[in-house]
């Protein structure tokens, strides 16, 4: 089990960030996703696997000082 934006979500072996986001296809795709304290950008979504028990946050990245 992982937590995605504060809610529990089933985990499976080999699950990538891109796999996870396909399940949230109705929402705008975030440019950055945080897995625990590791930031993953869109170009790396397909190659980055999610470990079990991870906490996932969708980072909007409007930012810029």
């Amino acid at each position: 089990m992982i937590r995605v934006a504060g809610k529990e979500h089933p985990w499976r072996q080999g699950m990538t960030v891109a796999d996870l986001l396909r399940e949230y296809a109705d929402d705008p795709e975030p440019p950055v996703v945080r897995i625990n304290d590791h930031y993953v950008s869109r170009p790396n979504f397909a190659q980055t696997t999610i470990p079990d028990h991870a906490e996932i946050f969708f980072i909007p990245m409007i930012a810029g000082g």
Binding site: P31, D37, Y39, P43, F57, I59, M61, A63, G64, G65
Partner: protein, 714 residues
């Protein structure tokens, strides 16, 4: 600790006015030549048109200088102002000061927005802004004591040279046992010996029991300060500040909106960028992943070792604890490194506290120099601050020197034997020490990229064409640290910025490249109108921009204009209305800024700039200069030539494709200028029209005469 002495040379006693709706109602004038100290009234017109902060700075500057004033003339003032909302505890990011002067790098107005307590303490002491004119051979300290209602000038001897020790000594000297009541503004030896000196603004960190500081970095405001003979400014005010201190028009309304924003940040920052833990360091790897992190003098946008400079490393290095540069700010992103031991320079082997680094310093003094060692970046950060040097200009100027060295345009004979290859950490540090001393090759680098180009071409025989293409400055100011080759909107964000290529006016790169929020020309032009205007507004009010768009509402992505974060813009309108009593809408905020923004453009015109020809960029900001750069991303560029620009590339050599792409991109940038000028109500030469200045209420006789003299009559 050095033995020091203060000799009182002038005292100005005053009666502190009551703050009313965010304003003290007067500004402070100090002349370090004549030792005149006086108070000037803030007029109704100043409040209505210029609002405060940078707006007040500009108005004071406009009245202090002439078109012939040079940056080092005594009449060029250093102006520092807060703003009507500045000094509000509890509303995140409400402690900013804005410093402005005529820049040694650009010759035009430079403004720099900085944290620390000085601006709010100055205002609560009775002054919305401070204007310092004159020049002196003595080391002078100006002390604004809002508690005892006096302004004093001291001739000081024996004070430390560097800002790190100086802030500590002056805090201790003036605190009367309450160091949190003190804020110090100082430069350093590097500010005196280069053209890109910064100012350090302090606040006292009670948990760590030390003076911390933030920098007004850009454009050499510290150089002007040091050139005046100013050693430091010190403000003293009772740190027991509450929401009442600004005497807001509607306290309950203010408390309500402040609570909403502060609470949202506390809830969402841990789920978003974690700025209260890692500051802006998360941006490093994100930029790298999107090919936007400058490496090797902006040649490329990514590097395999970039993660060495990312948040995962600094998360471990930052000293944990509250790091707000203003009271009660919940963004609290001003992190630092405790017990750092430099390997070079006067602090070699001693434990120091380093305030930073932030993203810009990491990119400028790290990846852009081909340095991927976080400890070297921290050491460069420390010495730049202590010496009073802008880390962005230091990084960009050094990167330029390194590329020139690698291209053989300069040699060890010019660098005093230094190997300036990219990645040479020892040489990068040695250059900073030389800049601070005004010695050796560092003295040349310390004059900035524009003057380096002239020296390299004129004295060292380097090819001026390649220097123009790879010297990353515009209007004389060094680029801040974003790779703009693929973002036309950010090219405009840099090239059309009033003071030169600093991202604070229009940080559009991510919105353009990653979110694709502005795919058409018209949308880019609209963004280059709205964003610079709204971003300007923060500097009018004494605010930080980060709470606006670095932590955003959970439902923001489903709003019609997510890039603008309109829920927060509405909150800012509430904030302004509740403090000043002037009821405003989000559109009114844009109109306020538009008046000041156009006034600054006209100020540039008055100083001999501010036209289309001044909004130029080095080609490296637009595309690949060399064949090697092209070939590193050949698939991307080939595809663009074919699909976007309809160029037949069959049989073309790389050199021919570089030339073809250049023609297309330069044309595209000129087209963007046309669209933006039109949207802003400017002529095709980039000058505000008479109609525009009338609409904005800045049609002062001097402005109308200026436009007439420039051939603008409609």
């Amino acid at each position: 600790m050095s033995a020091y002495d203060f000799k009182l040379v002038k005292t100005f006693d005053y009666q502190r006015p009551a703050i009313d709706r965010g304003y003290a109602g007067q500004t402070l004038y100090v002349n370090v030549s004549s030792l005149e100290i006086s108070a000037k009234p803030v007029t109704r017109q100043m409040k209505e048109i210029f609002i405060g902060g940078k707006g007040f700075d500009l108005w004071l500057l406009w009245n202090a200088v002439t078109p012939k004033t040079h940056w080092d003339d005594p009449e060029n003032p250093v102006c520092i102002a807060c703003g009507p909302l500045g000094g509000t505890p509890g509303y995140p990011g409400s402690g900013k000061s804005i410093a402005a002067t005529l820049s040694p790098l650009t010759g035009a107005v430079i403004d720099s927005n900085v944290g620390g307590y000085f601006g709010p303490y100055l205002k609560f002491s009775g002054f919305d802004a401070l204007e310092v004119q004159g020049k002196t051979d003595q080391d002078l300290v100006v002390f604004v004591d809002g508690i005892d209602q006096k302004v004093q000038i001291f001739a000081a001897t024996g004070l430390p040279e560097d800002a790190y020790r100086l802030s500590e000594v002056l805090t201790d000297h003036f605190a009367q046992g309450k160091p949190r009541n003190i804020s110090v503004v100082s430069a350093g030896p590097g500010a005196k010996n280069t053209s890109f000196g910064c100012l350090n603004f302090s606040w006292y960190d009670p948990k760590r029991k030390r003076a911390r500081y933030k920098q007004a970095g850009r454009g050499g405001v510290g150089t002007v300060f040091a050139d005046k003979g100013l050693k430091a400014l010190v403000a003293r005010w009772d740190a027991g500040i509450s929401v009442d201190t600004n005497r807001p028009a509607d306290k309950e309304r203010l408390k309500k909106v402040a609570k909403l924003h502060a609470k949202e940040i506390v809830e969402l920052d841990p789920k978003q960028n974690e700025m209260a833990t890692i500051g802006t360091t998360h941006i490093v790897t994100i930029m790298n992943d999107h090919d936007l992190l400058p490496t090797h003098n902006f040649r490329y946008g990514s590097h395999r070792e970039a993660a060495n400079l990312g948040q995962a490393v600094y998360r471990r290095l930052f000293d944990p604890g509250y790091d707000g540069c203003w009271m009660g700010c919940t963004v609290a992103c001003s992190h630092g490194v405790r017990d750092f031991i430099p390997l070079s320079g006067p602090y070699r082997g001693q434990k120091v506290f380093v305030d930073g680094p932030e993203y810009e310093t990491i990119a400028g003094c790290g990846s852009n120099l081909g340095i991927f060692d976080p400890h070297t970046v921290i050491e460069l950060n420390f010495y730049c601050d202590a010496y009073g040097l802008d880390t962005i200009s230091v990084g960009t100027a050094t990167a330029f020197a390194m590329e020139c060295f690698e291209l053989g345009l300069i040699t060890p004979a010019h660098t005093g034997g230094m190997d300036l290859s990219f990645g040479n950490r020892a040489s990068a540090l040695e250059l900073v020490h030389q800049m601070a001393r005004g010695e050796g090759f560092g003295k040349i680098v310390g004059q900035g990229v524009r003057r380096m180009k002239a020296v390299f071409a004129g004295e060292f025989g380097a090819d001026p064409k390649i220097l123009a293409d790879i010297g990353m400055e515009s209007k004389g100011l060094e680029f801040s640290e974003y790779m703009t080759k693929e973002s036309l909107a950010q090219q405009g964000g840099y090239g059309l910025a009033l003071k030169g290529p600093q991202h604070d006016e229009a940080w559009l790169i991510f919105l353009d490249i990653v979110h694709n929020f502005m795919p058409t020309f018209e949308q880019k032009a609209e963004a280059l109108h709205w964003f610079p205007m709204f971003r300007t507004w923060f500097s009018l009010c004494g605010l930080c921009k980060l709470p606006w768009n670095d932590i955003i509402p959970a439902d923001n992505t489903s709003t019609p204009e997510p890039a603008k974060v309109m829920k927060h813009v509405q909150w800012y309108a509430e904030y302004f209305s509740s403090v000043t009593g002037r009821e405003v809408s989000p559109d009114d905020l844009i109109r306020m800024s538009e008046a000041v923004y156009n006034f600054q453009r006209l100020f540039n015109l008055r100083m001999g700039f501010g036209r289309r020809e001044h909004d130029t960029l080095p080609y490296r900001a637009m595309g690949p200069v060399t064949e090697v750069e092209y070939e590193s991303r050949a698939e991307r560029y080939d595809q663009q030539l074919t699909d976007n620009y309809k160029v037949d590339i069959a049989g073309k050599s790389t050199a021919e494709k570089v030339a073809a792409l250049r023609g297309c991109r330069e044309q595209q940038y000129e087209k963007l200028k046309d669209a933006v000028y039109q949207r802003r109500g400017w002529t095709s030469d980039g000058v505000p029209t008479l109609e525009t200045v009338k609409r904005l209420g800045i049609d002062f006789p001097e402005v109308v005469a200026l436009l007439k003299a420039g051939g603008v009559t409609a």
